[in-house]
């Protein structure tokens, strides 16, 4: 333990807090994963592995009840917190209470959706009971967003008291390989090895500096070119920039694929400002995007290979699926879209009666194919926008580009017109993914009735406002199905329906990209969990 000395980690977005229940941001959750741990997590290939638990409970081993309503976890024996006290099931129960406190505003609340109770059967056994049948009961306490916090430490921080517990939020006591020695919000965290860590030989590093700030290219430069840092996270950079940086020979770029997909969402409702309150609501279908031919043409005109080459290179793959991973769920039915076919697109539009006007923009019944295309501010996305705009112009579609600050676009502020939920545009582009390895809730979000609207304060999740009975029927079936192969089948069908109706136009299956110095060993990039999930195994070569 501690033989490898010091390691420098650079997150260009700096963590502001180390309590993942108060801030669900990736940077916070990942930083916290050095300290606090869940009962089970996903490994680099997306398999669930027991972590603080003895094993993964299943229906087979009796951990999950047959009615799919309870799951019982067994904790490893002899676990201690970094302060030396014993880790018990009380802590797990407390974690549940902490996050579900009605006044708490817990960022990971959805992990505990449908949970009715969490009980400590004995010191090492916890039973979680759901209100409905849960074919996939691995929400609570699984994955890096749902780690266990110490009851003793957080006892007085429930509900409205939570924000006041600065010490606790900045220096949580955990079971992980490291403990915080100093925390400076949005700047830097210093860690040292946890003396009470369960594996006496780990971690290899005695101390960690976790620095934040700057931007991706500076982070890449610090690891790949100057060698000042050992590990840099989330290098969303153009492939050639990464390529040029790694030529310096100080480090290497690593990537791993999870379920993230960069896609274009098509607005099925009319975003015209003239509609006032009813703008982008299901009251008015979109004047021309309701025509599947138009949507299809838009998708056909895109060359996903070039997009990938420009924006992602080895860290992305062109895709035609909205659920490209885990591999078992990935459909192959739509792969035709990988080939750009402008002629075909033109032909489809011609046949559908969209004729080119004098300025080259197609029209029908006085309606011009003129789109507003919005996304968040990000160099790669803007390159994509420019390219796609040009391709669409080749099929007679006029495009206006707009990019919005990410904090506004993804902010969900009901007062702002620029959120992706309000979707006051014709198409928008962003990346989304689902949590863990089961896509059910993901599909569920595109259910009819879940679209954002003024009635629900624009809080819906069915962003495209697509509404279809057959889709909803398949979804209902999925919710009741426990059998994996049937689940896969249904999932693929749901995926294919979205794609073949051209409601969502997937572009790139994105991997997470990071870089580490050549002297850092043991890095196994994980797209399903925290990137730092195995930091206990890292060592200096």
């Amino acid at each position: 333990r501690g033989s490898s000395g010091h390691v420098n980690i650079l997150y260009w977005q700096a963590p502001s807090i180390l309590n993942p229940y108060l801030s669900g941001g990736t940077k916070e959750v990942e930083a916290a994963s050095l300290i606090i741990e869940p009962l089970a997590r996903y490994d680099d290939s997306g398999n669930m592995v027991p972590w603080l638990a003895e094993s993964i409970p299943t229906t087979e081993n009796g951990g999950v009840s047959d009615d799919l309503k309870t799951i019982t976890w067994k904790i490893k024996e002899g676990l201690v917190w970094s302060d030396g006290s014993a880790f018990t099931s009380e802590d797990v129960v407390f974690t549940y209470e902490y996050c579900t406190h009605p006044e708490g505003g817990c960022a990971q609340g959805q992990k505990f959706e449908d949970v009715v109770s969490v009980e400590a059967i004995d010191d090492l056994t916890i039973k979680v009971t759901f209100g409905v049948a849960k074919p996939f009961p691995y929400g609570p306490f699984v994955g890096f967003q749902s780690p266990i916090i110490q009851k003793v430490q957080f006892e007085n921080c429930l509900g409205t008291a939570a924000p006041g517990c600065t010490d606790q939020n900045f220096m949580p006591i955990g079971t992980g390989p490291f403990v915080v020695t100093e925390f400076r919000p949005n700047d830097v965290i210093s860690f040292e090895a946890n003396a009470n860590y369960r594996d006496p030989d780990k971690p290899a590093f005695a101390t960690v500096t976790f620095k934040g700030g700057g931007d991706a290219s500076a982070a890449g430069r610090a690891v790949l070119e100057t060698g000042e840092f050992d590990y840099a996270w989330n290098l969303q950079l153009a492939p050639q920039v990464l390529q040029q940086m790694s030529e310096a020979g100080k480090g290497q770029v690593v990537s791993a694929f999870g379920p993230s997909v960069e896609r274009i969402m098509v607005n099925m409702t009319d975003p015209s400002p003239d509609l006032g309150e009813e703008r982008s609501t299901r009251a008015h279908p979109h004047p021309f995007l309701s025509d599947i031919n138009v949507r299809k043409a838009l998708s056909l005109a895109i060359d996903r290979n070039i997009l990938n080459e420009i924006g992602y290179g080895l860290t992305g793959k062109p895709t035609c699926n909205i659920v490209p991973a885990p591999a078992i769920y990935a459909s192959t039915a739509n792969d035709g879209c990988l080939v750009q076919d402008i002629d075909m697109a033109n032909q489809i539009l011609d046949e559908a009666g969209w004729v080119r006007g004098s300025d080259g923009v197609r029209e029908k019944d006085g309606m011009r194919l003129s789109l507003l295309y919005q996304t968040s501010t990000n160099a790669v996305r803007q390159d994509f926008q420019a390219l796609i705009k040009q391709w669409w112009s080749q099929i007679g579609v006029e495009t206006e580009l707009r990019n919005l600050d990410a904090s506004v676009f993804f902010g969900g502020d009901p007062g702002s017109p620029d959120t992706f939920q309000k979707f006051f545009a014709d198409v928008e582009m962003y990346t989304n993914r689902f949590d863990g390895t089961d896509p059910e809730s993901y599909f569920n979000s595109w259910k009819c009735g879940r679209e954002p609207s003024p009635e629900n304060g624009w809080l819906g999740v069915n962003i495209t406002r697509y509404c279809d009975d057959t889709y909803d029927a398949k979804l209902a079936e999925l919710a009741k199905t426990g059998d994996l192969s049937r689940r896969i089948e249904l999932s693929k069908a749901l995926n294919d329906q979205q794609i073949q109706e051209y409601i969502m136009i997937p572009l790139i299956h994105r991997g997470s990209v990071s870089a580490h110095s050549n002297s850092l060993g043991g890095v196994v990039l994980n797209a399903w969990d925290s990137e730092l999930w195995n930091i206990a195994d890292w060592y200096r070569k």
Partner: protein, 335 residues
Amino acid sequence: MFNYTIRRTLLAIPTLFFISLALFLLLDLAPGDPTAQLPLTIPPEVREKIRLALGLGEPFHIRFLLWLEQFFINEPLHLLTELTGVDFSGDRQRVISWQSRSPVMDIVVQRLPQTLWVVGMSYVMGTIIALPIGIISAYRQYSWFDQIGTFVSMVGFSIPTFFTGVLLIVIFSVHLGWFPSIYDTTHVVTDWGSLIVQIKQMIMPTMVLALYNAAQISRFMRASMLDNLNQDYVRTARAKGLRENVVLLVHVLRNSMIPVVTVIAIGVPTVFGGAIITEQVFKVNGLGQLLITAIQANDIPMVQTLTFIFAVLIVLFNLLADILYGILDPRIRYE
């Protein structure tokens, strides 16, 4: 002079009140949401709950009054508590950052050292460089020194720091490896060696900013010197047989410094907030970076506090500039 000072100070109070009201209103109208940083997988209902937990639901005037109380009464009391160890503050509610759920002022205090070290130093450096340049350019007006000085200051003024910064990093960190490209805020100076490290990591950000500051200050200095060089009293001083550098550095400089000192004083607040881009480029996580991350994360209490602190500093240094003016210029002092 005393009256004048008091009068200016009293005037500052309503100004500050209106500034805080304006800032509050502005930020209230601004889009963005503290839940923006949450991943998309977090459902909107949860976001809404978090938002309510942050106290976003209250009406405007209540939040404003609450904030005024927190900022003007509770925070000073807490400060007092910390300084004296006697508990003045009780459990008064402090201004809490939405991002880190910790008192905003604590973080601000934490950021002060690097802000002062780097940005403050750059201002000092800029001034130190600028003054002699301004003096010489004025004394030798239209000489090659003056021409080059003008050219360099214009270039220094016109190139964005996000570009100069990256350029310096590429040259000095990547290719030459002389200086680190990332500022270590945890570094403590304890001995000679660590001082060298500190200086090394300060050089590049300091220089980038110093160039920018020096460009402006030297222009002012030059103009002011030129104004004074033509005054009658300069001729008197020469007629007394004083040496040229005495004439220049005692008689002319003192007079020329009067407007320049106020310009410098008024520029000080930018030290605290104006270096956003440079701080970003060199990862000097100072107050500027704090503001920008707070804006990006829509951490409204933090943004409010920081912008208001900057506003207070601006008003304060304007006041200070007025007072300095009086101290330097006897004509005002004896008003």
